[in-house]
């Protein structure tokens, strides 16, 4: 247990990490007249300082957490009243715990990458662009550290505003449509989520007498006094609406490819790397932890939707002609694994799902960054215009390959432990299930999910092969072509390498030593899984009792007939 003083510095560091981007956005507004370079370097400096502060918080968490009495407890907590009127107790309550700590760190890391890949790509209204990026960082860091329900929701919704502007102002051709569709889809779902969250709090208020918005206290209170099953189901569906759209689960994913394709590179990186994970995070933090009964009831449906997303996303990705679109659909497929892991309802699978959440952020964030760099050089995203680019841009090809292999789960890279744990969790679920029907269903889903791995390797390798290997084929560069000679396209410069290298480092680290990362998830996931386990156990007992009751009557009849 660290000394109280150290804990205080941690709280301070977390507060700094959270508020720096906000202050940075304000600073950019002031120094905007100083010119493009001043703005870019300030933005980079702010994200780097944030990364340092966030890194320190994450490091201290990994050191201190194993010594905690209650492993699910959060560290670096700051808790001050925000909105209080005697009855309402809404607090500005932040801290890091096992569920959020890695996503928090990943957010801080990816925003540095986002600034670096935007360095030359953004040539219009830079101060506004970087200010929006920093506001987005503020929102993302806040989502993963909020420990108050309303604070979480405020950050959750707040992320929409900067991304709306990022897509709408600096996106490609259909940017206005994409921005508005993205915003409306997410908002429509998350408003229902809001209603569900309010229902949880107010139901608890009717029973416990205090209007409690603190997430840990609510979790504890609902564990003591669970909601009735039918109400849980309704609230679960309300939460589902928002989180499923954010993930996105299969039938409500349509906003995602559009938003990804139209967004500027930095927007795509953040959207894929962090924002989608908020949905997964919401599922484990709220739906599963607060509504275990409804979670168990809905699990088969969610498993089917996830596996449908895995296969559908992969098949659609196979047919894409646009690189960004292909990766966007691969996201739909990969996020299915995260959901599959979580809803296998055992520790192994849930850990895998959460690890996969970080993995996908690294690999797909990196892929989008690579595609952005390629687009910056050739101004097209069409696969068939490229060929053999590895000869021209070997360093970019190297990074692209690493991210691809990470994405398809090559052993030794981060995708492998994640996918392995998810699938193992699914098979474990299949053996644990009680009825024959459930067992075979879960097995079928697990096997179908396996096929997604194969499909994933197929479309990703096909993409790399077509674009980077084979005979050299470069897109025409109309605007700059003077004369017949194709202009020389430069390979990655140091700045671009520095943007991608940290991601590769973490890909290797997670791939080689997953146990440095998994324990944090494990600590926080156990109580959640214990809740759903209890429900599963109750149901099994009830089913057995019912079975015995029905079995006893025919036996007696049989005995009577024999007599």
């Amino acid at each position: 247990m660290p000394a109280p003083l150290e804990r205080m510095t941690d709280s301070l560091l977390l507060l700094i990490a959270l508020l720096l981007p906000l202050a940075g956005a304000a600073l950019l507004w002031i120094i905007a007249p100083a010119g493009r370079d001043a703005v870019r370097y300030t933005a980079l400096g702010v994200t780097l300082l944030t990364l340092i502060a966030a890194g320190a918080v994450v490091y201290d968490y990994t050191q201190a957490a194993p010594l905690l009495e209650n492993p699910a407890e959060a560290l670096a907590v700051t808790d001050v009243p925000w909105l209080t009127d005697g009855l309402l107790e809404i607090h500005f309550n932040i801290g890091v715990d096992g569920l959020g700590v890695w996503m928090f760190g990943l957010s801080a890391l990816l925003f540095v990458t986002a600034v670096l890949v935007s360095w030359e790509a953004i040539k219009d209204r830079e101060p506004l662009f970087y200010a929006m990026l920093l506001l987005l960082e503020f929102g993302c860091l806040g989502v993963f550290t909020a420990r108050d329900l309303i604070l979480f929701y405020v950050f959750f919704e707040f992320t929409l505003i900067p991304l709306f502007f990022l897509i709408g102002i600096w996106g490609s051709e259909a940017r206005r449509y994409a921005a508005i569709k993205f915003f409306l889809f997410t908002l429509a779902g998350s408003l229902l989520t809001f209603l569900g969250l309010l229902a949880i709090v107010l139901w608890d208020y009717q029973r416990s007498g205090s209007l409690n918005f603190s997430i840990p206290e609510l979790t504890a209170s609902l564990a003591d006094r669970p909601m009735p099953a039918d109400m849980q189901l309704w609230v679960f569906l309300a939460l589902f609406a928002g989180f499923a759209i954010k993930v996105p689960l299969f039938p409500v994913h349509t906003w995602l490819p559009l938003a990804h394709v139209q967004a500027p590179t930095a927007g795509s990186v953040i959207l894929a790397g962090i924002l989608l994970k908020i949905g997964v995070y919401g599922f484990v933090r709220f739906s599963m932890a607060l509504l275990p009964d409804a979670t168990v009831t809905c699990t088969p449906w969610i498993l089917w939707l996830s596996v449908a997303g895995i296969i559908y996303g992969a098949l659609v990705a196979l047919a894409q002609a646009d690189i960004k679109r292909l990766i966007a659909y691969s996201s739909v497929s990969h996020l299915g694994y995260c959901m599959l892991g979580l809803f296998s309802l055992n520790v192994l699978g849930a850990n895998g799902g959460l690890l996969q959440m970080v993995n996908h952020g690294l690999s797909t964030g990196g892929l989008f960054a690579c595609v952005g760099l390629l687009y910056e050089r050739y101004h097209t995203r069409e696969i068939k215009q490229y060929g053999g680019i590895a000869r021209r841009l070997p360093i970019l090809a190297f990074f692209m390959l690493v991210f691809t292999f990470s994405s398809i789960g090559l052993p030794g890279l981060n995708g492998f432990p994640g996918e392995f744990m998810v699938l193992q969790g699914m098979f474990q679920r299949a053996w644990q299930d009680f009825t024959q029907l459930n067992q075979s269903m879960t097995l079928i889903i697990a096997v179908m999910a396996m096929s997604g791995v194969v499909l994933g390797a197929w479309y990703m390798l096909q993409l790399v092969q077509k674009v980077f290997f084979g005979p050299l084929k470069e897109p025409e560069l109309h605007d700059e072509a003077d004369g017949d000679a194709h202009p020389v396209v430069p390979d990655l410069c140091l700045r671009e390498i520095l943007a991608l290298a940290p991601l590769v480092a973490f890909i290797l680290w997670i791939g080689l030593r997953p146990n440095d990362f998994v324990p944090a998830f494990d600590r926080s996931v156990r109580p959640v899984v214990a809740g759903t386990d209890a429900v599963l156990f109750q149901r099994a007992m009830a089913r057995q009792a019912a079975l015995q009751a029905t079995e006893s009557t025919p036996t007696q009849e049989k005995i009577a007939r024999v007599r």
């Binding site: 925000w82 909105l83 209080t84 009127d85 005697g86 309402l88 209204r125 309303i150 929701y153 405020v154 919704e157 707040f158 929409l160 505003i161 709306f164 502007f165 709408g168 102002i169 940017r175 206005r176 921005a179 508005i180 915003f183 409306l184 908002l187 429509a188 408003l191 229902l192 809001f194 209603l195 309010l198 229902a199 709090v201 107010l202 139901w203 208020y205 009717q206």
Partner: protein, 530 residues
Amino acid sequence: MFANADTIRLLFPELVLVLAATAIFVGGTFYRNRAVWHLSALAAFVVAGLALALTPLSKDLYGPVTHDGLSEALRWLLLITGVFFTAASWQSSSRELAPEQIGSIMLAVVGAMLAAAANDLVLLFLGLELISIPTYMLLFVGRRDRDSAEAAAKYFFLSIASSAVLLYGLSFVYGLAGTTRLVGDAPTMGIRDAILLLGDDPRAALSPFALLLVLAGLGFKLAAVPFHFYAPDVYQGTTSTNAALLATLPKFAAAAGIVRVVLECLPIEAGHAWQVLLVLSILSMTIGNVCALWQTNLRRLLAYSSIAHSGYMLIGLTVAQAGAAMGGVDPTYGGVSALVFYLAVYTFASLGSFAALSAMGTGGREATSVDDLAGTGRTQPLAAAAMAVFMFSLAGIPPLAGFWGKFTLLSSAINLATSAEGATSHWLIALSVIGVLNAAVAAAYYLRVVGVMYFQSGVGPNRARTQPGGALAATLGCAALVIAIGIVPTYLLRVTVEADDGVREVLIQGPATAHRPVETPTLAARINRD
């Protein structure tokens, strides 16, 4: 004893404003100078604010004027609104008409303040009329084109008709109770006590008529569906400042009127009232938002948006009314608090967006169509940023004020739904779900406005307006308030909770036992006695 010392003391802020307005009207005929009259109006608002700050809360004093939590909250908000109106109308008035315009605005504000403070049917009605009459003038004065003539005529006739309906409803209330005092104190009986004591008196059968007529009359002021149809035409045909006035002041008065007359004084109709309000709320939200989707004229768009927001305010009233029907120790369930909170955040955002429209006009013309805003994100960054803040706030996106408005409304509705049982609970859950779905629909057109400002480049020469001073000041002031309330909602929430407390105190009182049921003297008997 209609005007005793207490009454005068309580109405001091209004008296200051009326005197100042009269002085401006009279002085304006001799000396035409915009700056002087606007500044003296501002000074009058400041003095009125000081007077209001010195007025103590009168919890047990139920004269014709009351200064309970509700009246205090609404009057403060109205004074702040008045300051913004004074600033916003700086440009839109021609030099010749400035005194008339500013005087009328002040009188309309006074009308809304009177309605908020009224504890008497007559005073309430007078307050409502004092909003309408200066508004007729504002709509007509200084504009010669067909649109504004149509707007003025339409508003005039419909407003008169609605006043008549309201008056008819109020006469039913008077007929039931035999007094015009809304909430009584020890010596005098109020309408609430009288109606509670009616028992199975056959006159009680008239109360549904009173309810419907009063709601119809006040629904017009609130611009709730189906009494909304004047709003788009009128807003379109007038200036942005006038539209802002129409979109905010009558809503204050109507909200206060519904709380005072329907919620507090028709206890025997509470069971019907919440159902009627619920239907009005659903209709207003849905029709307002869906119609706003197709609008290309900005003031028309904001008119439909204001109709939809009336629907949201009605959620708060529905909750309070349903809670009152259920009884118990906390009969409002935070509904009145949510209503006042929402009214405040809506007013600042709505007023601000109208002021932004007049600040963002080009070449001496206010921005009217959505396309007029194209590229303003670049050419007029301050006004456009403020407009974006208002749009996001109206859409209810955190961390802006509008989010907390939706939060208080929805939490009061869900609070009632989780403690009630059966149909009440289901209807309130349905109301909340329709409310949030509507918020998503509404976001579509608010985002369209933001999108046009930031994602499109302007067509044609985009000259900045020569002197947007006053309107821009009002815009930025409102934006600052919307952001400040969004980040620190506590203070406004405390004020609104106090309003709620006042109403709750009235609602949990049974009929004062000291009173005997009075015979309503017939007119003839009364004449004979006098």
